[in-house]
């Protein structure tokens, strides 16, 4: 019999990776390893991707929608888990439609990941990346 915490962690398989919310995610770890497979199921790695955030404009006080992608992943599905200070490549579809092309982002020390072991998931704040000249 599992306790509530274990059940909550197990439920992440539905809330973050299930067909209602799950979006394909590809990662490249600092050691160069590509992480594209769910360690629990062997299926392609999925996570919850929120593309926009509502912010308050500090000058006018108005609400504004900012393109600020945040990816939430189940920790146990990852063979490696991003740590603060590390640089990872993250690829996500440009929008949550089937067949959408992938775009590249990075996570860097500018905004470290959030989420610990007790929550069972990790939240990644993506930064746009461009090809150096």
């Amino acid at each position: 019999m599992v306790n509530l915490r274990q059940q909550a962690e197990s439920d992440l398989g539905l809330t973050l990776e299930g067909e209602n919310w799950g979006v394909l995610v590809k990662l490249v770890a600092p050691d160069g390893a590509r992480i594209e497979t769910n360690q629990n199921t062997g299926e392609p790695l999925k996570g919850q991707v929120l593309y926009d955030t509502v912010r308050i404009n500090p000058d006018s006080g108005e609400e504004m929608v900012v393109n600020d992608p945040v990816v939430s992943l189940r920790r146990s599905s990852l063979s490696q888990v991003p740590k603060a200070g590390e640089t990872w490549l993250v690829e996500i579809p440009v929008d949550p439609t089937i067949g959408a092309p992938f775009v590249q982002y990075v996570i860097t020390s500018d905004r470290p990941p959030e989420g610990g072991r007790s929550l069972g998931f990790i939240r990644l704040y993506l930064q746009k990346a461009k090809q150096e000249r």
Binding site: D59, D68, L89, Q127
Partner: protein, 211 residues
């Protein structure tokens, strides 16, 4: 037109003439700044009259010393940069990808470098001896100098890092008290209401704005 308005106009003109595609110049204080609008070489400098003080000892006519502080708000944004093509190349091995990731530059580092370069550009343009009189002829500018530079904290704005700061540009000039006011329209505005069968026509009012 008072000198401070002419000086502000010339600051904008001088910066525009010397920008050479490295930044953009806005001659007003713009409220909303989108991070995408100021990315890379679209970084912007907003020029506006910040404050001024006048010498109280002079009389009610003639000229007055005007000590002006112009604000130059610098705004820019940056993305992270690195060798993405190696990272997404399916033929690349882990060693190559590791090297690409380790050489990635944070957006905040790039924004900091870009800001410092921006300050240097603006400083060198405005303090160039060639621009000593700010194109206004001898005698208008008593003195000009960049008083200080402030750099704000970098802000994650969506997918990029936004960095702002201010240059305080001081100018001393003399303003003449001429009593000149804005020109008004010397026109009658007739608001009489023409009511049929009203022979008296005393409804309404005539407004004479002329001097």
């Amino acid at each position: 037109m008072m000198n401070f308005r002419k000086i502000k106009r010339e600051i904008v003109n001088i910066l525009n003439a010397n920008a050479k595609g490295c930044f953009t110049v806005i001659g007003a204080q713009k409220q909303v700044k989108s991070a995408e609008e100021v990315e890379d070489f679209k970084r912007s400098v907003q020029v506006f009259y910040g404050s001024g003080d006048f010498d109280e000892s002079s009389g009610y006519s003639g000229s007055k010393d005007h000590n002006i502080s112009f604000k130059l708000d610098l705004t820019l944004s940056k993305q992270a940069e690195g060798d993405i093509s190696s990272l997404i190349d399916i033929n690349a091995n882990a060693v190559v990808r590791e090297a690409s990731l380790s050489s990635f530059r944070n957006a905040s580092d790039l924004a900091d470098d870009s800001f410092d370069e921006f300050v240097e550009l603006v400083f060198q343009i405005l303090m160039n001896p060639v621009n000593k009189d700010l194109n206004l002829g001898v005698g208008v500018i008593g003195k000009r100098w960049i008083n200080n530079v402030n750099k704000d904290q970098p802000i994650p704005q969506g997918e990029v890092i936004l960095l702002t700061g201010t240059i305080d540009f001081k100018v001393k000039t003399i303003e003449e008290i001429t009593g000149e006011v804005l020109t008004t329209l010397a026109t009658n505005i007739d608001t009489t209401i023409d009511i049929p069968d009203d022979d008296v026509e005393q409804t309404g009012v005539i407004v004479d704005i002329g001097g």
